[in-house]
Subunit: 229 residues, 2 copies
Amino acid sequence: MEQILPHLDSVFSIDCVLFGFDGKELKILLIERNEEPFKDWWALPGNIVGPDESLDQSASRILYELTGLRGIYMEQYYAFGDPHRHPQGRVITLAYYALIRLGGDKELRPISTYAKRANWLPITDLPKLAFDHQKIYDKGLEKIKRRIKHQPIAFELLPEKFTLTQLQHVYELVLGKKLDKRNFRKKIVSFGVLKELDEKQKGVSYRAATLYRFDKRKYAKLFGKEISF
Amino acid sequence: MEQILPHLDSVFSIDCVLFGFDGKELKILLIERNEEPFKDWWALPGNIVGPDESLDQSASRILYELTGLRGIYMEQYYAFGDPHRHPQGRVITLAYYALIRLGGDKELRPISTYAKRANWLPITDLPKLAFDHQKIYDKGLEKIKRRIKHQPIAFELLPEKFTLTQLQHVYELVLGKKLDKRNFRKKIVSFGVLKELDEKQKGVSYRAATLYRFDKRKYAKLFGKEISF
DNA sequence: TTACTTAGTGTAAAAAATACACACTATATT
DNA sequence: AATATAGTGTGTATTTTTTACACTAAGTAA
C-alpha cells in the first residue's frame, strides 16, 4: 500500500559485514563504539541511508567512508527490523556484505567520528557484538557460504594474480572444511574460467607455484551468472 | 551507525508476492489500485510496517488482512529502495513471498479499502504493474526457483495429501521446464521425506493415483534445513 | 467389451564426485 | 656440493548421481 505517505518517524540504516582475507585468515571489520548505547562494544560499521541515495549507492558510500575503498563487490542480503533491536527507537537496518582483499598496498583510511577505532578481527575469535549484530554477522556468513558454491565471489578476496592453493584456502575458510587438493584443482580448472599465467609466485622459500587470473569475460560468456564450485 | 536517531521522513512498507497454485496454474495475487498514483493499474498487495511490529509479523498481518489466511510460509527476500521508485516520496519497501494452496474451501476475504478488487492472475499472462513491482515480482520468482531446489517449499503449494504427479507439476511450473517422470519419482522418493498413504485420489475419471503426505518430522531429522530436489 | 486416460515401473550408459600417494622443484642450510 | 625442507603438481580406480528412454497396469466411461 503505497499511495498514502504518512509522516512517520522511522530510521533506516545500513550495516556492513566486510569480509577481508589477508592470505591467512578470514576477518571482518569491526568498530569500537564511542557512544551510548553499547559504548565500548564492538559493532558492525554502518550508517543512515541518505534521502537521495539508492540502497546500493548508500552501501558503497558507507564502505568508502570507512575504508577508502571503491569498486568493491557488495550485496544486500537481509533486513533486520525487530522493533526492539535498538534501545532508543525503531531502526530498521539493511545488511550488506562485501568481500575485500587485505594487506598489500592500501591502508584503511581513519574511521569517521563515531568510533574509537576500527579493526580487522579474525572470524574465529570475535568479541561480543552490540545490538543484534551477531545475528547480522551469522546470517552474512551463511550467505557467503552458500554463494561461494555457485558464484565466483572467492576471487574478490584474492589479489588479481593468485595460486590455486590460495584459492583453495579461501574456499576452505569460507566453507569451514578441508578440501582435497587434486579434486579441487581438477574441478576448478575444468570450468575454464581461470587463465594460467606465465608467471610464478615470488618470494617464497620453496618451489614457486603458477599464478592464475580469473577470466571475467570467459565466465560471463559461459555461465551468464551461475556456476557450481 | 545507530547511536543517533535523527527525525527523518521515511516510509517503510512491505510488498508481497503471493504465489498460489490451484492444481493447474501458478498465479499471483494482484490488486487493482483505486487511487493515484497508478490509479487503475495492477499492483502487488502491500502495506506500511506498523511501529511495534517485527517485519515478519507485519508481513503476516498484511497477508491476513488481504486473504484471511494465517500460518502461511512467508519469507523476506529483498529490499527495494530506489529514491525515485515512488513518485510521491521516498518509500523503501521490503519484499516477501508466500506460497499458498488455492481453490477448495476458503475464499479470499474481501480486500481492504485501497483497492477496487483483487485477483489471482496466472504468471504466464501478467499485466503491466505499478511502481517497480515487475522488478519485485521477477526477483521473487527467481528466488523461489532457486529455493525449490534445496528446500521443501513445493509442499506449501499443495494440499496436505497430494499425488506425485501433482508434485511434479508444481516443480515444472516453478522451474519452467519439463521433468522426466521416472527420474523425478525416483529422486523425490529416495529422500525419504514423503509418506505414502493408503488412500487414493478420488473423483477422477481414470486410474486413481496414490496419495502422499510430506513428513515434516522425518525431514527435520534427516536434513535440518537443507536438501537437493 | 472396448476405448481412453493416467499411474506406475527398471535398466543401461554417461557424467560427476570421491578417495587416495608420491615424485618434483626451488630455496635454505651446512 | 650435498642435504634437508616445504609446498607444487599430477592420475586412476571406485562409487554415486544423473540422464535417457517405453511399456504395462488400473480404473472410468461409453
